[in-house]
């Protein structure tokens, strides 16, 4: 699914090294937690994957294709195969829940019939079937994130990227979002989630990739958040 080879990212003009010699392989259907302190490079890692940023060095393959070499006009087609969820939800405040989700389908030129069929289905899945006519401001944080999730899922992408998706949510709501992500993962999507939430990482026991100052310092199957884990098992790159 994802194959990162010797990737570095340096932000100019101040030459900030965000990532250094990253080597990672993520298989289809995996669920990966990306952990580390703020500024460790988690967001940059994700941005490289959805090509918001280009690597300064190295190769970054998604589904066998080098994302860095993608022509600009092919970038939208890559993004349609990636569902992205953010800490701040990134919803459009002046559009209903339905429209926010339909947005991702319109972009792909889905037919109106298709939109009417798929949006309610995905809203049902995230438990918001009753609220399709609500505006984001009328929803709780957890509900807003469910809309974000629905929008990420509606194109049925094989890869889900989540950048601190529970960062603005209370513990109970966070668990509900996690349950949904896990469900999507079980249905076959690969999930890469950057997070600070140690309790969640410890509870779900997925693969953990820990970043520190731009380097991978730990890559552990069924890992925990903290570095003091007992059985430290480095994953081959």
């Amino acid at each position: 699914m994802i194959h990162i080879k010797h990737v570095s990212k340096i932000y100019y003009p101040r030459r900030v090294v965000a990532l250094q010699d990253i080597n990672v392989r993520i298989r289809p259907g995996e669920f990966v937690f990306l952990v580390g302190a703020s500024g460790a490079g988690k967001s940059t890692f994700l941005k490289l994957l959805y090509r918001e940023e280009l690597p300064s060095e190295g190769q970054l393959l998604i589904g066998g294709k080098d994302v860095a070499r993608l022509r600009q006009r092919d970038v939208p087609y890559l993004r349609r195969r990636i569902g992205i969820i953010f800490q701040d939800f990134k919803l459009l405040p002046d559009r209903t829940v339905f429209e926010n989700v339909a947005f991702a389908l319109r972009v792909t030129e889905a037919s109106p019939k298709e939109i009417r069929r798929r949006v309610p289905t995905v809203l049902e899945m995230v438990g918001l079937a009753e609220k399709e006519r609500h505006y984001p401001s009328q929803l709780s944080g957890g509900e807003q994130q469910r809309v974000g999730l629905a929008r990420a899922l509606v194109n049925r992408p094989p890869l889900i990227l989540a950048d601190e998706p529970t960062g603005n949510l209370d513990p109970q709501t966070s668990l509900e979002i996690m349950a949904l992500l896990e469900q999507i993962n079980r249905m076959g999507a690969t999930v890469v989630m950057a997070t600070h939430a140690s309790n969640i990482v410890d509870m779900f026991r997925k693969r953990v990739i820990a970043l520190d100052r731009g380097r991978i310092v730990r890559d552990q199957e069924r890992g925990v958040y903290s570095n003091e884990a007992k059985h430290l098992e480095v994953h081959p790159g």
């Binding site: 959805y50 006009r73 939208p76 087609y77 890559l78 993004r79 349609r80 992205i84 990134k90 459009l92 947005f103 991702a104 319109r106 972009v107 792909t108 030129e109 037919s111 109106p112 929008r151 194109n155």
Partner: protein
């Protein structure tokens, strides 16, 4: 792109127009002002050209003769003039006949001519028509050379005045038009800039969910085009109504002034207005899309 996508794009453009009502109204108003200038200049130029053409076709050379020219010389002159190439008709008008005509023109006010009755100050003349109006000045030049001809007049002053007036309208109008169009393009660009800024977040999200650049740009482009088109339609309606009224009024009170009343040139003006509005709108929004929309 599919029809449903175009419908969506059109809806987004409409949304932009509605959100910035004040700016949209300002844009449509300035488009209307610019296009009205364009229409005014075009219609004036058309009419002046038409007027010049009409006058030209009615023009004749009048050759005034020296006083007391002997009759044989007059007959000789008549023959000489008829021999000039391009002359189609020659008529001899004595000064007595000229005075009668003048009296007829003055009509009820002809009393004032009684004072000059005895000492008729007019001169005998030849009125010469040309087969082709283009040859008028050449004919006038040759007639002026003939012995016994005191002065030649063929209305050149009026024609020259008309032609210079036409070029003033043409160039002055063009300058005014360029200034107005530039201002309009800037105002449309500004309206689109405001939409672009208001939609930064939306554009960012569109990109994240995989919108192509074309899909992101089209609503903004279309918004500018719609504003331009709205201004053009308003202008076309105003021009249609206004010009019909002018034509009607002119034909009633000044029937001898030839005004362009055929539908062809007027439709041409209306078509130009629509095209102009669309182009102004498209150029204005393209400027802002290039400068402010990062896709």
């Amino acid at each position: 792109m599919k029809p449903s996508t175009w419908k969506y794009i059109l809806g987004e453009a409409g949304r932009g127009i509605k959100k910035n009502t004040l700016m949209s109204v300002a844009a449509v108003t300035t488009v209307t002002l610019s296009l009205l200038t364009l229409a005014l200049v075009l219609l004036l130029v058309f009419n002046f050209n038409h007027l010049a053409g009409t006058l030209e076709s009615q023009m004749q050379v009048v050759a005034y003769l020296d006083d007391n020219l002997p009759a044989p010389r007059v007959a000789e002159l008549d023959a000489q003039i008829k021999a000039i190439e391009g002359v189609s008709e020659v008529a001899y008008v004595t000064k007595a006949e000229a005075l009668e005509r003048l009296k007829a023109e003055f009509g009820v006010d002809s009393d004032i001519l009684a004072a000059v009755e005895d000492m008729n100050p007019l001169r005998d003349s030849f009125e010469i028509a040309a087969a082709d109006p283009e040859q008028i000045s050449a004919i006038a030049g040759q007639v002026a050379e003939l012995a016994g001809v005191a002065e030649v007049n063929y209305g050149q002053e009026i024609l020259e005045l008309l032609l210079s007036l036409t070029s003033v309208i043409r160039y002055g109008g063009a300058a005014l038009l360029v200034a107005f169009i530039l201002a309009t393009v800037m105002i449309i660009a500004n309206a689109i800039r405001m939409t672009v800024v208001a939609r930064r977040r939306e554009v960012a999200i569109m990109k994240l969910v995989g919108a192509t650049d074309a899909l992101i740009r089209w609503p903004f482009l279309l918004e500018g085009v719609l504003l331009g088109l709205a201004g053009a339609v308003v202008t076309a309606a105003l021009v249609w109504a206004g010009y019909s009224w002018v034509v009607g009024a002119m034909q009633r009170s000044l029937p001898f002034v030839p005004i362009v009343a055929e539908w062809q040139p007027i439709l041409l003006v209306l078509a130009l207005l629509i095209v102009g509005g669309v182009v102004i709108g498209a150029v204005g929004s393209t400027i802002s899309i290039r400068r402010f929309l990062r896709v």
